[in-house]
Structures are given as C-alpha cells and as structure tokens.
Point group: C2
Chain length 370, copies 2
C-alpha cells in the first residue's frame, strides 16, 4: 500500500489512540506532530449522514494548546493577531488568525481566555509555540510559553448536547456558543467549550490530564449508547458544505486573512497594534484580488483532492481548488477554491479539472453550501 | 488497514513524489508538513544491506531550508545555538542544536553558510522558520526569514561518489565532508554538500528549483544503473547502528544538548551569547543526570518502537528506549536509549521491555555500534 504511515515516537500518539484503534480507525493524518484519526468504517458518506443525525466522539488531541501566561500575556496575544481581543471575557473563545509581517497567515487558532494573564491558543497545524516563544524572547516579554498536557476530545452532532447533559448535568446546556466553563470529571475540573469543527453543534472537552483519557473516552462512549454514538473525525463532506477551512489546505502563509473572508476579524483602523498591520492596511486599501469561495461541480464523484486543482473559465486559469468531496445530499461535488476577483460572483460558471484529468462544469457558490 | 495516511495539500508532496511512487514506495512519514518516504520493497533488511554496498537515491525534500538573510543574519543564527559559528567559512556545513531559554532542544539543523549575511538551516521536524521570525520581529533584527524552493535529494552509499562524479565531474570528489560547493545542472548552479543521514558516505543535492525535480531524479537514476542504484530512505537499522539521532524520537524540547552527547558543540565559557546559555551553564556545572546510549538487546527481533519502551535494571526504571531495530549484521537488536547516570557505563546489563511485553536482556553499548 503506497500510503501507509510509518509510526514512531515523533508522530505522537494521544491519550485516546488505544480506543481509536479498538474502534477500527482506518487512517490518520498528522497534525502538530500528532495522530489525527481521519477515517472509520464503513465510509465517509455513512459518517456524514451519521454526524448530521446522531452523536460522535472525536479524538482531536492534535488541537494542541499553546499556553501564554504572565504579566505580558494579553499584550503578546494581541500582537500576534489582527483581531481586537480587548473585548474578550474570561470564558470566551475567540477565533484569531495569526499573521506575519506580510499579513500572511501563520495559523488560525481559537483563543481561550482563562484569566486576565493566561490564554490558550488551540492551534491548527504549525508550531505556534515556537513563534510565540521567539517573539517573547526577542522582545523581552514577561510570559511563559508552554504546551500543557491538554488533549481535546470533541462530542459533535445534534444529539451531542443531550449526551453531554447525561454525563455532566444540566448546567452544560447553559454554556453558550464559543464560550466555556469548567465541569467535574472524576474529581477534577475540566474545561468544556461549546465549539467544534462541524456545523452540527457540540462540545470540546479540553481534558487536562492525559492519564484520564481512556476513562473519559469510555464514559462518553457508554453514555452515548442511547444517542447512537459512533467514533468519528472531522468529516470532509460536512466541513466543505459548512464552509469550514483547514489551515495548510485552504490557506497558507501565502494567504492573508482578507482573502480568506476574515476581514471581520481584522481591526485595521489603527486602534490596535499587531504584526502585519501595515501590510493588511495596504491590502485592504487596494482591495483583495482573490477570495475563497465554494464551487458546486460535476455530476459524478471526483477523486480525492490531494494537491490543488486548477479552476478555469474562458480558457484561462482563474483559481485553484484545495478541498473537494462528493455531497450525497446535494448530488454534486462541493469544493473550496481561491478564485480571482473577476470570476468570484455567485453563479459564475467555471471548469474544475480534477487529478484524474476529468473536466467538471461548476458554479461559484456561497458558503456555507445550502 | 489501521495505519493509512490520508493525503491532503497540507501534507505536502515533493518534486520527487511522482518518481518515489513509481519506484514502489510502501510507506511515508510526515516531516515539516511534507512526505518523507520510509519504506521500499522488499524489506528494511534488504535496504540496509544494499545501502552498505551500493548507491541509493533518497527524497529528503522534507529537510526544509530556513533562509536567514540580511545584516543581522549571523547575529540571529548565533543567538539561536550554543555552537560557536564564528569559525564557519562560506561553504561550511555546521551541525547546530537550537536551544530554548531552558536549554531544551527545539531542533538540530545543519547550518550552511552561503555568504557572510546569508544562511540556510536544514531542519529536522519543527517550524524553525516561525521561531527565527519571532525572534527577528521581537528583537527588531534586520533579516528576512523565508523558506526557499529548495528540495534536497540525497545520494548515499559507498558507490555514491563514483555515481556523482559520473554526473557532475571529478571536481565533486574535492568537496570535503560537511562542505559544499556549486555544480551545474541543466545550466543552473546547484548547491551540493558531502553529507547525509547515513554513515555510508554520500552527498545531498540542494535542488533550488522544484520544477527540475523529476529531471534531477531521472538523471541520477539513469547514471546510477552501473552502481546498482535503488530508491531508498534513511534506514532505521543503519542509523541506529551509526548513532544518528532523530529529533522528536531521541530528543525533544525536554532534552538539553549535553544529555544528547552534544557537549562538544556547546560553548559555555561566556565567549558567545545565545538563548539558553545560563540554563546550560547550570546543567554543565551540576553534571547531567542522564545521557543517550546504545543498547544491544535480545536474541529475537523486537517489534517496531513506536512509543518509548522502559529500560530497567535491578527492578527499577533507569531509562527509556526511543528507537530500536533488529540488526542482521550484529545478530541482536540495537536501540537508542536515554539512560540514568548510575547505569550508563558501557557493558552494564539492563532489561528492555518492548511493546509486546517481551523482556529482553541487553547491554549498554558505545555509539556507533561496532
């Protein structure tokens, strides 16, 4: 098999990996030097329908936490992102793109404000810890940057809330979207947020002790039986339909937040100072030349999109697609693509050429797909 | 299959991946968000014997280059490492551990000095680019930190030199160990160093244009026929026998250079300033409490070491093994382990408990194994 993954200590296992293996995982990806389950029996499509109807348990330990703590913590976090974090309260989750001097995106974590002087950045796939530590050492900031022993476990799907109530009690229903609170598990408080990498609702448990991992998995699993629980993972079809982007796929350091549609998270009026402000102000003044859009295309399922596919119109290249999957609900392929300004209007016809050289007729779509 | 690797753009292909696939790769690892081939037919042992006798071509594009360029380049590189780089000439390769404030190892790249104000760091698996850029921005250093389009291709084995002479001419024989020079390929100069992740001799071609990747692979491949060339990759048996460590396996941020046996690369007399100096001076003064050692163990092949195995003596834990393989030459297993001070003497008997619960009798060994 050409795509086996050779395991070693460097590709870190998680507190849940034993359970994931027992549950029949069929494949992994590697995120932040750690295993992310990517496929379970019987199929991506079955998993998609199940996620939309029931409850799933996901090992998302690879969402590592970068803890920034100390008198200069808030100053450092604000310096790293164009989003104004001054309005964040303790208990808030803020999605914060991190930008470099050119406005390029280095990561797009969720920030959790634990205290006035203590933050977690729940990161996508790049070593934000090294960046934050470099900034802190370089500028002489009074912070400690570390990776705590925190292993997020997600419970997602329309039945997730009922399941979580059965384990943690009614109080968990009061946690608002992108908010968190602490709940007891085996005598220790655990941070639980209403969040997750799907549009089906649910929670993420930031388990703060890897030794409790198997017990937490088993507890959720047993409590989940009445809710038709299954092991799962971020579902490619569901996340594309939902317009959820993936760092490294839809965006890299070559992209700025404005072309990813994150303008609403960029405060460019000069009221906050952050790395890349000048570059983003210039880009905003000139207007972006491309933006990420949905594309609905084709009448037969496309292959996996493992490298960018060209999107053309009028015989010229007008963009590239970075994620794609067949939607069994919409009866077409759905994809996420960076599209040039002249072609990004909803309804515009384009051609998507998949890796198998098939040319699919498509249309620019709003996100999320409806 | 439980250990499939799900591909996406985020797990980057290399300029040689098409060729590697055509050559029958059986598995990958992921290093620096990029594919590293890890296994070819027919077996690890066949590959080991072949590497010791002939010539191999390895796709090591994942050894990404972090380019640091500008008036403050040398100052920044020196700040990142305990090794005194003032003696490096243009054309030198220096192995330089990178340390954090606690003396913990963040990476162990090879530094290539391209000019007085331009360096490449050929990195192991962590985002050194983000660390260097953070330091530069934080301290206001006048440098540009970037990842150039450079894709190293290694030619390793005792016949590598003859092969390289047949392609690049006699002058390549004059390149000394851990030195580099430039040689023409298709009209453009390419940096070639006498280096590589084996003890069998060879070169690394730092191809500076990914579009030339397939042509370079094909040229080496065709020229290699008289030298019994085969596709290969860093060989686990050979690298353990040779005492070549792997960042993320033998060492992490929890380890300092002194316990990895890199004391000779640490200038602690105060003549240079670098991040972690105070911490390393303190550790050196107190003496390290553990050090990495070889262990020869067992009479039957052990399984893969995918997570640390305990090493015990006198009924107590005295260390952990992080890489292990059966040596068909030494007729025992060979492993790399971090061993406590009281037990690290050569010849000391220890017990290695592999993941299958087998307890193997072993002996502490010098490195490289002989």
């Amino acid at each position: 098999m050409a795509d086996g993954l050779n395991m070693s200590r460097r590709i870190r296992r998680t507190p849940y990996t034993d359970r994931v293996e027992a549950a029949g995982v069929r494949g992994y990806s590697v995120v932040n030097h750690m295993l992310l389950p990517k496929a379970f029996e019987p199929s991506l499509e079955e998993d998609y329908w199940h996620l939309r109807q029931h409850a799933q348990i996901w090992d998302v330990s690879c969402q590592r936490q970068v803890e920034i703590k100390g008198p200069d913590a808030a100053r450092l976090v604000q310096w790293m992102t164009p989003r104004d974090i001054s309005g964040a309260d303790i208990g808030d989750c803020f999605y914060i793109p991190i930008t470099d001097r050119n406005g390029g995106i280095l990561n797009d974590p969720v920030m959790l404000k634990l205290a006035a002087d203590r933050f977690w950045l729940s990161i996508a796939d790049s070593d934000v810890l090294l960046y934050a530590d470099g900034l802190a050492v370089g500028a002489g900031l009074d912070v400690i940057v570390s990776e705590p022993d925190v292993s997020p476990l997600a419970v997602q799907g329309p039945k997730a809330e009922a399941l979580m109530v059965s384990v943690f009690g009614d109080a968990i229903s009061k946690v608002g979207f992108f908010k968190f609170d602490h709940f007891d598990f085996r005598g220790a408080p655990q941070l639980i947020a209403r969040s997750g990498y799907s549009r089906q609702g649910g929670f993420e448990i930031y388990l703060d002790d890897s030794a409790l991992g198997p017990a937490l998995w088993d507890t959720i699993w047993e409590a989940g039986r009445p809710f038709d629980i299954r092991p799962g993972c971020p579902n490619l079809i569901e996340r594309i339909e939902g317009g959820l982007f993936s760092y490294g796929n839809e965006m890299t350091r070559e992209n700025n937040p404005l072309e990813i549609g994150l303008g609403k998270y960029c405060t460019l009026d000069g009221s906050i100072d952050f790395i890349g402000r000048g570059a983003l102000q210039k880009i905003a003044a000139e207007g972006v030349t491309r933006i990420i859009r949905g594309v609905a295309f084709g009448t037969v399922p496309c292959p996996s999109c493992t490298m960018p596919w060209p999107v053309t119109a009028d015989g010229v290249r007008v963009g590239q697609m970075t994620s794609a999957a067949w939607s069994p609900r919409l009866k077409c392929n759905v994809g996420l693509a960076m599209i040039d300004r002249s072609y990004w209007d909803t309804g515009r016809e384009v051609i998507v050429t998949s890796a198998d050289e098939n040319r699919h007729l498509g249309q620019i779509s709003d996100l999320p797909f409806s």
